[in-house]
C-alpha cells in the first residue's frame, strides 16, 4: 500500500469520480471560531465516497482472471458504490443485503444495476450465501475497507483535498475524517503525507463506537463493546481494519469523538448553511469541527462530509434541532 497506488487509482478514476468542490459558510466559521472547509463527498456518485474505492478496486481487477462479476456484502454505501462501478465495467454486481435494509437503499442499489440478494438477518448467514453464489457464478469479493485498491480509491479524496486547499492558500490544517473501518481515513492520510505534509489527519467517530480513537491511544486494535444500536450506521465497524490500522497508526496522531446530539445538530446546520444532505455517519467529522473547538489547534480545519444516504425520518429528526 503506497502513494503510487493512489496516483494510479486517481488516473483510473479520472472522468469517472466527481471532483467534489470544497464548500464553506461564514456562519459555520463563526460557530467554530476558525475557518472550516468541507469536502462534500455526499455529492459523489451514489451519495458517498465509497464509489471511489469501488471503482478503483473493480477497475484494477485482473482481466485474465475471467471474473464475470463482483460480490459485496453491504446494507448501504459500499453496495451502491460497487453496483455503479460494476455496471460501468459491464460486470454483474451481486449485493447481499438484509431484507430489512431501508427500502430506499435497496431501490437505489437496484436502480444502479445491482442484483440484490436478500437474506433474513435472524435465520440466514450472509457469508454462506456469498460463498455459495461466488463459487457458482465465479464472482470476486470486494471487501469494504481491508483491500488495498479500495484504500487507494478512497485516497484520491486526499489528493483533491491537498490540491483544492492549496488553491485557497491553505497548506496547514487538521483534516477530520469520518471513520468506520478506516479505508477513507488511511487513504487520505497516505495522500496528504505525500502532498500536504503540514496537514494532520484525525479520525472522527461517534460516542460508544470510538474503536479507532482508542486504538490509536493504546497503540493496538481494540474493539467496541457494542456492535449495533448506534445512529451512525455507515461507520459502526467493530474494530479498525487489519490493513488500515497500521497506516493510521503511522500518520494519525489522535481521534475525536462526538455525541449523537452533536451529529444531529451538525446535519441541521449543514442543511441550513451548506445546502447539502449529510447522513449521521457522514456528519461526525464536521461535528468535530463545530463542537470540539477547544481541542482543535489549526486556524483552518478541513472536514470530510463522507456520505448523504439518510432516510427522511432521520433527517426530520435532525431538522427538529433547529426548533
Amino acid at each position: 500500500m503506497n502513494i503510487d497506488m493512489i496516483h494510479a487509482a486517481a488516473a483510473r478514476l479520472e472522468g469517472k469520480a466527481r471532483k467534489t468542490s470544497l464548500l464553506s459558510s461564514p456562519l459555520l466559521d463563526e460557530i467554530a471560531g476558525r475557518q472550516i472547509l468541507i469536502k462534500p463527498e455526499c455529492l459523489q456518485h451514489t451519495g458517498s465516497f465509497k464509489y471511489r474505492g469501488g471503482y478503483s478496486a473493480i477497475s484494477a481487477l485482473n482481466k485474465d482472471k475471467c471474473t464475470t462479476g463482483v460480490i459485496a456484502y453491504s446494507s448501504g454505501n459500499h453496495a451502491q458504490g460497487i453496483a455503479l462501478a460494476a455496471r460501468q465495467h459491464d460486470m454483474q454486481a451481486v449485493i447481499i443485503m438484509p431484507n430489512d435494509a431501508p427500502a430506499i437503499k435497496i431501490a437505489n442499489t437496484k436502480a444502479l444495476g445491482g442484483r440484490v440478494v436478500g437474506y433474513d438477518r435472524a435465520t440466514e448467514n450472509r457469508e454462506d450465501i456469498g460463498a455459495k453464489l461466488s463459487n457458482e457464478h465465479n464472482l470476486t469479493l470486494i471487501k469494504p475497507y481491508d483491500e488495498p485498491q479500495v484504500i487507494a480509491g478512497q485516497g484520491t479524496t486526499g489528493l483533491e483535498i491537498a490540491e483544492q486547499a492549496a488553491e485557497l492558500g491553505v497548506n496547514k490544517a487538521q483534516v477530520l475524517v469520518c471513520c468506520g473501518g478506516g479505508g477513507l481515513t488511511s487513504g487520505i492520510a497516505l495522500a496528504l503525507a505525500e502532498h500536504a505534509p503540514e496537514m494532520t489527519v484525525h479520525p472522527a467517530e461517534p460516542e460508544n463506537f470510538d474503536d479507532t480513537a482508542r486504538s490509536l491511544k493504546s497503540g493496538e486494535r481494540v474493539a467496541n463493546e457494542k456492535s449495533s444500536g448506534g445512529m451512525c450506521d455507515a461507520i459502526l465497524t467493530p474494530t479498525p481494519g487489519e490493513l488500515t490500522f497500521p497506516i493510521m497508526k503511522s500518520h494519525c496522531p489522535s481521534g475525536f469523538v462526538v455525541s449523537d446530539e452533536e451529529v444531529l445538530t451538525t446535519m441541521a446546520l449543514a442543511f441550513q448553511c451548506l445546502k447539502i444532505v449529510i447522513e449521521p455517519g457522514g456528519a461526525v467529522a464536521l461535528a468535530v469541527a463545530l463542537f470540539c473547538k477547544d481541542t482543535l489547534e489549526t486556524d483552518t480545519v478541513i472536514a470530510v462530509a463522507s456520505g448523504g444516504n439518510v432516510d427522511y425520518q432521520m433527517f426530520q429528526r435532525a431538522l427538529k434541532t433547529l426548533n
Copy 2:
C-alpha cells in the same frame, strides 16, 4: 446587453463565484425517461445564483460615483447575494424585504451585514420604497433582474453549463431555468445562444405565477393575477422584466408550468437522489424535467436548481411526500 458583458462578468467573478459542478442521478433519469443534468446553484455562495449577479453589478459600479452603498429589494436571495458582494467591496447594503420572506433569508441577510427594511407584499410597492431610500441616502439601486450587469452575472451560469455539458458530450439539450423576473433565464439564454447554439432555454414557473410562459405565448408582457400567496417565494414576480423579456422572447421558444405538489415532490427527490437542499422556487426547473416528460423533446435536459434557502418547516413538508 450582449455576450461580451457576460464574458467580462465571468472575468470579475473568477475566484469569487463557485463553479458549481453538474450533478445527476440514475434514479432521476429513470423517472424522467431521459438524462437529466442538474446545475446546483443552491451550492453557490449565499445559497443561490443571485451572488453572481450581485457581485457582477457591484464590481462594475463606477468608482468615481462616490457611492456610499447599495440598495436592493428582494424576497431573500438577491438580498443575500448583494449583502455578501457589498461586504466584499467594503460597502453598506440596505435590503428591502417582504415581511413574509422565509425567516432564514432575513436572518442570513443580516448575518452577511445587510440592513433589512421590511414591507407588505400585498399593499406596498417595493420599487417605490427603493427609489425613496435610494435618493435619501445616496445609495445605488441594484435591481434584481432588470439591470444589465445583473443579467451578465447570472449569464455566467450559462457559460459554465455550456462548458460542463460539452465535457460530458452533451451539446444539444433543453435547458430549464427557474424563472421569476427572468434575469437568470435571459442571462443563460444569451450565453448559450453563443456557446451552445443547439441548446434551447425554457423558463420554468409554478402554477398561478406563470406570467413568463403566458407572455412568451402572447408575445407581450402579461401579469399574474395574484401577487402573493405562492409557495415559490423566490420567483413570484408580477411580470417578466422590461430588459429580460425581449431577450427571452428572442431565445426562449416556450415556458413550462408545474404544480406546488410537484415542486414539493421534487425537493424530496433531490434530497434523496442528489443530496442537495433546494427551495421551492429553486425546484421548479427540475420539477419540469421530472413531471413534464411528455412535452419535453431532447434526450438530455439540463435543469438549474437555482437556490436552497428554505426554512426547515417547508423542507419537512416536502419530505412528507416520501411517506
